[in-house]
C-alpha cells in the first residue's frame, strides 16, 4: 500500500476556480514522486491540500496517508501529523522563515510542537540538524536570523526544520525555484543525500524537468488541475504517451543533441 494515496482530489475556491480536478496520485514509502506541470496546473494547491493547509477552499475526494483518511481527520489530529509525520518545504525560504526569530529557534519550535523537550535539548537538536544540512559553524550560526543567511542557506534551514522529526513524507514545493543554479544543485544533492540516509518519501513539486530527472523515481504530469500522465520517470521521459507531456519535454533545452533554432512552447491539447 502506498504511503500517500490521493484519489479523485478536487479543490474548489470560493471564486469559482477549480484548481484541482479529480487528481489521482501515489507516493510510495521511501520513494520520490515528481509532480510537474506549468504554472497554474494545480501542483502547489495539491501539496497544500495534502497537508491540510488550504483555507477557504472546498476539498473533496480522498487523501489517505499511512492508511488514515486525512479529509475526515479533525484539525487537532491533522496538526499532530503536520510537521511530525509529514513536513513541507516551500519555494521562497526568505518569506517562509519568520524574520523575528533566530533560525535555531524556528527549528526547535517545530520539534517542541510534537515532542516533550527542554529548550536546551531542542536547541541542541536544532544545531545538529543545521550541521546535518551542511551549515558551516552551525553552533554559532544557530543564533543568526534568516536575513543573515544566503538564499541557499535559508533553504537548508527550511529543510532542517522539515526533517527534524524524521517525517515519513516530505512535501517539497518548488524547493529550488527561488535559488540560483549552482545553489539549486547543492540543495538537490542535499535532498538526494537525506533521502538515501533517512528513507523519507518525497513529493517533489516542480516545473523543472531537470530536477525531476535528477531526483524523482516516479512522475505525475499535471495540466489544468488534472493528471495527464503518470509512471516511472524513465518511462515517461523516454516514451511519453500524451502529446502534452511530449510538448512539455520538448520545451527543455538539451545540452546533448542538436540545437533547435527556437525552443518550442507547449501546445495546449
Amino acid at each position: 500500500m502506498s504511503l500517500l494515496s490521493v484519489r479523485g482530489l478536487t479543490v474548489d475556491f470560493p471564486s469559482g476556480v477549480r484548481a484541482v480536478d479529480g487528481l489521482d496520485l501515489d507516493v510510495e514509502a521511501g520513494r520520490v514522486l515528481g509532480v510537474v506541470g506549468e504554472s497554474g496546473s494545480g501542483k502547489s494547491v495539491t501539496s497544500l491540500a495534502v497537508l491540510g493547509l488550504l483555507r477557504n477552499a472546498r476539498v473533496s475526494g480522498e487523501i489517505r496517508f499511512a492508511g488514515q483518511d486525512l479529509l475526515s481527520l479533525g484539525p487537532k489530529a491533522m496538526r499532530a501529523l503536520r510537521g511530525d509525520r509529514m513536513a513541507m518545504v516551500f519555494q521562497d525560504p526568505l518569506s517562509c522563515l519568520n524574520p523575528y526569530y533566530p533560525v535555531a529557534f524556528q527549528i526547535a519550535e517545530a520539534y517542541r510542537a510534537h515532542r516533550r523537550a527542554s529548550r536546551k535539548a531542542a536547541h541542541a537538536l536544532a544545531v545538529s540538524m543545521l550541521e546535518r544540512v551542511g551549515i558551516p559553524e552551525a553552533r554559532r550560526r544557530a543564533r543568526s536570523y534568516p536575513h543573515e543567511f544566503s538564499g541557499g542557506m535559508r533553504q537548508r534551514v527550511m529543510i532542517a526544520m522539515a526533517l527534524c522529526l524524521e517525517p515519513d513524507l516530505l512535501v517539497a514545493d518548488e524547493p529550488t525555484t527561488a535559488l540560483d543554479v549552482t545553489v539549486q544543485a547543492q540543495v538537490l544533492d542535499l535532498l538526494r543525500d537525506l533521502r538515501e540516509r533517512s528513507g523519507t518519501a518525497i513529493m517533489l513539486i516542480t516545473h523543472d524537468m531537470g530536477v525531476v530527472a535528477g531526483l524523482a523515481d516516479d512522475v505525475v504530469v499535471m495540466h489544468g488541475g488534472k493528471r495527464v500522465e503518470a509512471g516511472p520517470v524513465r518511462e515517461v521521459f523516454h516514451s511519453p504517451v500524451t502529446a502534452y507531456t511530449r510538448g512539455l519535454l520538448d520545451c527543455v533545452p538539451r545540452v546533448d543533441g542538436p540545437l533547435p533554432h527556437r525552443l518550442p512552447t507547449v501546445e495546449v491539447p
Binding site: 497537508l51 493547509l53 484539525p75 496538526r79 499532530a80 501529523l81 503536520r82 510537521g83 511530525d84 513536513a87 513541507m88 516551500f90 521562497d92 518569506s95 517562509c96 522563515l97 519568520n98 524574520p99 523575528y100 526569530y101 533566530p102 519550535e109 517545530a110 510542537a113 510534537h114 536570523y145 536575513h147 527550511m158 526544520m161
Partner: protein, 325 residues
C-alpha cells in the same frame, strides 16, 4: 547597538536645535512687541526701552537666539534678575520662571497621558485583534463601527457630554480637579477617569483599525503558513508568528502619540479645567504670553523627539533586522 543609540541621540539633539531656532524666529518676528507684552498696559516709553534692554531685545536676532540657547544650557540673567538653569525666560503674566511653570504642570499631564495610553492600548489592540481573527463576523463589524465612532467624535464634544451626564446629571463623579496621586489616590482616580476615557476613545479607534489591518496582513504571510505546516498549535501560530510582527507599527505610532500627549492634552485639559501643560499653553496663547508659548512648544517638541528615539530603540529590540543598520 551602542553606536545605534548614540546616532539616534545625536540626531535628536540636532532636530531639537532646528525646532528651537524655528520657533524662536516665528515668535520674535511676530508683530506683537514682547517688551509691550512684558510691561503690560499703560506703559511709559522709557519703561519699554528699559525692558527692551533688559530682555536683550535691542540686540540682533542671532545674538538673542544665542543668549536664549545659552540660558537653556547654563542659565542667564535679565539685568539683575537671575534665571537659573534651564532658563526659558519668565512669564509676562505671572513673572514665574517658565521652566518652573512647566514642571509644576507636568504631573497632571503625565497622569492624563499615562492612564489614557494604557486604556487605549488595551482596548484598541484587543478590539483590533478580535476583529481581525473574527473577520467578517458581527464582532468585526461592531468593533469597527465603534472605532469609527471613537475616531469621529471630537474631544470637546465627548468631554463636555461626559461631564454633563456623569457629573451634573447623575452625580456619579466629582468635577475633575488637580489631585496628586500620592495625596489622595481615590480622588486622583475619580478626577482622571473622564479625561482618560475621552482621550482613550479617540485613540483606541485608530489603534483598533491599525491593529486589525496589520494582523490581517500578517495572517496571510508565508511564515504563518510555515508555522502551521510545522504543526504548531493555532494559539502559538497567532501569538508568536502573526501578532508579534503586527505590533511593530503600533509601537511606532504609540511612541509618537504618547510623546505628543506628554507635551499636554490641550483640549482635554482645557475642557475639564485640569492645570496641565496643555492648559498652560492655552492660557499663554490667550494672553499672548510669548516666553510661555515658546517654552511649551520646545517642551512638547522635546517629548515628541525623545519618544521617537525611544521608538527607534524599541524597534531595534523587537526587530533583529534593524539592529544591523
Amino acid at each position: 547597538m551602542i553606536l545605534y543609540t548614540a546616532r539616534r541621540l545625536v540626531g535628536a539633539a540636532g532636530i531639537l536645535l532646528v525646532i528651537c531656532a524655528l520657533t524662536f524666529a516665528v515668535f520674535y518676528l511676530m508683530p506683537a512687541d514682547p517688551a509691550q507684552g512684558a510691561c503690560g498696559k499703560a506703559c511709559s516709553p522709557e519703561r519699554i526701552a528699559q525692558i527692551r534692554a533688559t530682555l536683550g531685545l535691542d540686540q540682533p536676532l542671532p545674538t538673542q537666539f544665542a543668549a536664549y540657547l545659552g540660558g537653556i544650557v547654563a542659565g542667564r540673567t535679565y539685568g539683575s534678575l537671575e534665571c537659573g538653569f534651564p532658563c526659558l525666560g519668565f512669564s509676562f503674566q505671572t513673572n514665574q520662571p517658565v521652566w518652573d511653570a512647566l514642571t509644576s504642570r507636568l504631573p497632571t499631564s503625565v497622569s492624563i497621558a499615562a492612564g489614557a495610553a494604557l486604556l487605549w492600548l488595551l482596548v484598541g489592540c484587543t478590539a483590533g485583534v478580535v476583529a481581525a481573527l473574527r473577520r467578517g463576523t458581527v464582532w468585526d463589524r461592531a468593533a469597527m463601527i465603534a472605532a469609527l465612532g471613537g475616531v469621529s467624535l471630537p474631544i470637546y464634544l465627548t468631554a463636555l457630554l461626559s461631564q454633563y451626564v456623569l457629573v451634573v446629571q447623575l452625580g456619579w463623579l466629582p468635577y475633575p480637579r488637580e489631585v496628586a496621586l500620592t495625596d489622595d489616590p481615590v480622588g486622583w482616580f475619580q478626577s482622571m477617569l473622564m479625561p482618560w476615557c475621552t482621550l482613550a476613545m479617540l485613540y483606541a479607534g485608530v489603534y483598533a483599525r491599525i491593529t486589525r489591518s496589520e494582523v490581517l496582513e500578517n495572517l496571510g504571510r508565508d511564515y504563518v503558513r510555515t508555522a502551521r505546516a510545522k504543526g504548531l498549535p493555532e494559539v502559538t501560530v497567532l501569538r508568536r508568528h502573526a501578532l508579534r510582527p503586527a505590533l511593530m507599527p503600533v509601537v511606532t505610532i504609540f511612541g509618537m502619540d504618547l510623546g505628543a500627549l506628554l507635551g499636554g492634552a490641550l483640549i482635554t485639559e482645557s475642557v475639564y479645567g485640569l492645570p496641565g501643560v496643555g492648559k498652560l499653553a492655552a492660557d499663554a496663547i490667550n494672553s499672548a504670553d510669548q516666553p510661555v508659548i515658546l517654552g511649551v512648544t520646545l517642551f512638547a517638541a522635546a517629548f515628541v523627539v525623545l519618544a521617537n528615539v525611544a521608538v527607534d530603540l524599541v524597534y531595534a529590540l523587537l526587530d533583529p533586522r534593524v539592529r544591523t543598520v
